[in-house]
Subunit: 205 residues, 2 copies
């Protein structure tokens, strides 16, 4: 039969659906409809919805910019990588719980990223044993920050309980006259600097 479907097409359609309707809109039925096909047809090319999510994840991973590790100083490369990584997954937080548990064996794009990052760390003079834990720590921070980037601006509005939390409320207000000023970007920058400085100190040369 004329192959209307394949994994690449499914992945592309899933990404478009996600960008238009969000992850709630990503159902097998909607995905099939956007491809002009019956839902059950998808299962000839994909074993489950979870596999669709894995395909999307791999596609996104290939868009993370780790190029700096072969051209920039380590600090700059990490910064560029981290910003790119967070930026992409901030709009795909439902995938984070998938990534965190997905063995790299099945994820060539992810593996390629790790290889490049590892090379960058080696070139910067990190002892081999420190590299993986450092990457894991940075990734944890990036994933957490991706969630954070979606927090509503008024998340720290203490509301009716402001009186019982004076120090916290004052600290929130100190960030600006507007109450709703969630410092996600500032926080990301500060924490990333701290991590880069702290981890960077592990280098030997």
């Amino acid at each position: 039969m004329a192959a209307v479907l394949d994994q690449d097409g499914i992945t592309a359609a899933a990404l478009e659906l996600i960008s238009k309707k969000g992850y709630d809109g990503l159902t097998m039925a909607a995905l099939a409809r956007s491809l002009g096909v019956a839902p059950s047809a998808l299962y000839n090319h994909v074993s489950s919805k979870d596999e669709v999510l894995k395909l999307v994840e791999e596609d996104l991973m290939s868009k993370v910019d780790f190029g700096g590790f072969s051209t920039l100083p380590w600090e700059e490369a990490v910064r560029q990588w981290a910003y790119s990584y967070r930026g992409i997954f901030a709009r795909h937080t439902p995938l984070i719980s998938v990534i965190a548990v997905l063995p790299v064996t099945d994820a060539p794009q992810t593996l390629a990223m790790y290889e490049a990052v590892t090379e960058g760390f080696l070139r910067a003079g990190f002892p081999e044993k420190q590299i993986i834990p450092s990457i894991v720590a940075l990734e944890a921070y990036i994933f957490g920050a991706a969630f954070d980037a979606n927090a509503p601006a008024d998340i720290f509005d203490s509301g009716r309980l402001a009186d019982s939390t004076p120090h916290f409320t004052s600290a929130v207000r100190s960030l600006g006259p507007e109450r709703n000023n969630y410092p996600s970007d500032l926080a990301f920058s500060m924490g990333l600097d701290a991590l880069i400085t702290g981890l960077g100190a592990l280098r030997v040369s």
Copy 2:
């Protein structure tokens, strides 16, 4: 009618169900069954399953140990807090996406924690404007690390693609003779030290 149910009872039952069957096992039907009640009865006390999750989240927050902020040096207090926080939510990662978006207005326990942590930062000499971003950065790291703690031991097994990722594969192997040695705890400790050092440098006194 005799009130068989209330929010505290529902929360406790939900927590027990989660610990026994995991988050997949937490369905409104199962929750009702464990309380000896029809599923629809729950909706007299709770507006949705999401509210159940919020109740659970608040309960867990009250178990996070932030006591060190009034008794220990700042570095120690942060460490104790972070370990406790990660330890609890590592077994409740499905809640992380809820927390990250939940305004503190509705979450008195969370607010109480923030107040105590803020006080600790003030006492340690942090400028007021740096405190919230620092907490946000630490929390991001903690949440990401909680996901990480659930990674399978062989997550970094590059498998068939080992040849094309020599540096990464070697770095993974350097962690130990056993291949399956995911350094989640080591990574958490390293990253936390880096953050504590880096953020600690923001103190003025």
